[in-house]
């Protein structure tokens, strides 16, 4: 039977998660150069359109439709047929449509996260095609594997709110994208600065706010688990912001605002798979290490020399990786991890993570190449100099 408390909770959680995508647009938009601010924001924003239309027709059905061999959902829910105002298979206390709306928001933000990797040089047409393909052929299957009745869920992999489905998945795709599209003109030769860090701080604030919907909402009910997920989210995020700026202080002598924002994001990512499975003190540890690990990931990138413009790999890829394993280590609430004497869970987590990494990397590579040879991935050098805003959209961000 529909519970108004749970339904209220899930509808609002869905609204909060929706807000994360514009939050991401602001976060990313602030980090690029002025000439690319709109092009960058647009790539996140328009995912709200692209993925919604895919979802209504076949996306939800592929991800959450009746399972076919553990691999994919059937098209039984095509056009949301039979997905209505009554509870569905995933919860008894909320309308099936509420569940779908909530999950839609996850499906929207995942491809948006990837855009940070190819920021400042991607063709808009190429981006659109890539997003349609990646949503269809990478996101929907992986989502099904973990949450839709697929093989990873059956295996017992724990992913409270999407560490694997969303963060590792997008982080690995980001790595593929950075490698295929190549470096920005001038990368590591001229400094490339963020043009407006107030947007970035605002963006991370909206992400943090929305993430309460993301993580607590993943309980699908306004209950104790949701409360635990809410609490651990707050704590891990705050702590990761601190540990990141501590790293900066040690490494560069000064704690930065961007560092605090980036650390918060790292904490949000890392706690995502663990949120409802671990206790408050564990969340401190997860957050603390998240800040350190993701910061180190960025230093590693500098060394390896690929140009993941906005550090999707280091933050979402590595952060998600750490979070998924940490779930296997620290789980005590409604599941047990290695430290509570269940090493098997840790192994399962590893299997899940590695499988998704391999699949996502290879599939993303193929799709990127496909887009490259068809509509093209990268703008011309002249367009890159002039910026995406003018060349792709005929606009400028500011005329102050």
């Amino acid at each position: 039977m529909i519970d108004t408390g749970d339904t209220a909770f899930m509808l609002l959680a869905a609204a909060l998660v929706m807000l994360m995508t514009p939050g991401l647009a602001l976060f990313y938009g602030g980090l690029v150069r002025t000439k690319n601010v709109l092009g960058t924001m647009m790539q996140s924003f328009i995912c709200l359109g692209i993925v919604s239309i895919i979802w209504v027709f076949y996306g939800y059905s592929l991800a959450f439709g009746p399972d076919i061999g553990g691999i994919i959902g059937s098209l039984a829910f095509f056009g949301h047929k039979g997905v209505g105002m009554e509870p569905g298979p995933y919860s008894d206390t909320i309308p099936h449509l509420t569940f779908s709306a909530f999950q839609l928001m996850f499906a929207i933000i995942t491809p948006a996260l990837i855009t940070g990797a190819f920021a400042e040089r991607m063709k808009f047409s190429g981006f659109l095609l890539f997003t349609v393909l990646w949503s269809t052929f990478v996101y929907m299957p992986v989502c099904h594997w973990v949450w839709g009745g697929g093989w990873l869920g059956s295996l017992g992999a724990l992913d409270f709110a999407g560490g694997t489905v969303i963060h590792i998945n997008s982080g690995v795709a980001a790595l593929a994208a950075a490698l295929v599209i190549g470096k920005r003109k001038g990368y590591q030769k001229q400094p490339i600065y963020p043009h407006n860090l107030t947007l970035t701080v605002l963006g991370v604030a909206l992400l943090w706010f929305g993430w309460f919907g993301f993580n607590a909402g993943s309980a699908l009910s306004a209950n104790g688990t949701a409360s635990m997920a809410f609490f651990t989210t707050q704590v891990a995020t705050g702590v990761a912001a601190l540990s990141w700026i501590l790293m900066e202080k040690i490494h560069r002598g000064k704690p930065t605002t961007l560092g605090a924002a980036s650390g918060a994001l790292a904490g949000l990512v890392a706690i995502t798979p663990a949120a409802g499975f671990v206790g408050p003190v564990s969340s401190v540890i997860i957050g603390f290490l998240a800040g350190m690990i993701c910061y180190s990931g960025i230093l590693l990138k500098e060394k390896l020399g690929y140009d993941d413009s906005l550090d999707v790999v280091a933050i979402h890829g590595l952060g998600g990786f750490w979070g998924a394993l940490a779930t296997g280590l620290f789980a005590t609430v409604g599941a047990t991890g290695l430290f509570s004497g269940n090493p098997k869970q840790f192994v399962i987590q590893l299997v899940a993570v590695v499988s998704v990494m391999a699949f996502s990397f290879i599939a993303s590579l193929i799709l990127l190449k496909l887009v490259d040879v068809t509509v093209g991935l990268r703008v011309s050098e002249e367009e890159e100099i002039q910026g995406l805003d003018l060349t792709q959209h005929g606009e400028t961000g500011y005329s102050l």
Binding site: Y193, E248, H251, R252, K254, S262, L299
Partner: protein
Amino acid sequence: MKKIEAIIKPFKLDEVKETLHKLGIQGMTISEVQGFGRQKGHKEIYRGAEYEVDFLPKMKIEIVVTSDMVDSVVEAIVAAAKTGKIGDGKIFIIPIEEAIRIRTGESGDSAI
């Protein structure tokens, strides 16, 4: 007539303006510029990397005066803008052949 172009530290603008007012200077034009010189820039930190930013924000003041005023204006600017630390800036004197006031069309010394 001469144009006096002074590049100064931005936080000295108010003092310079006041001194010039006292001298009876009625008009001037100001703009924001970036200076490179002996004064070192600063470091900016961006996600683990550190960048030298070698330009510094400076203010450029342009004042057109009659030739006999040049020395006193220069002295006044030097007095007001000086901190004694590197990067205080420069003053350049440029010849002006004519000046016209748009509102009235008048030209010459009375136009400035």
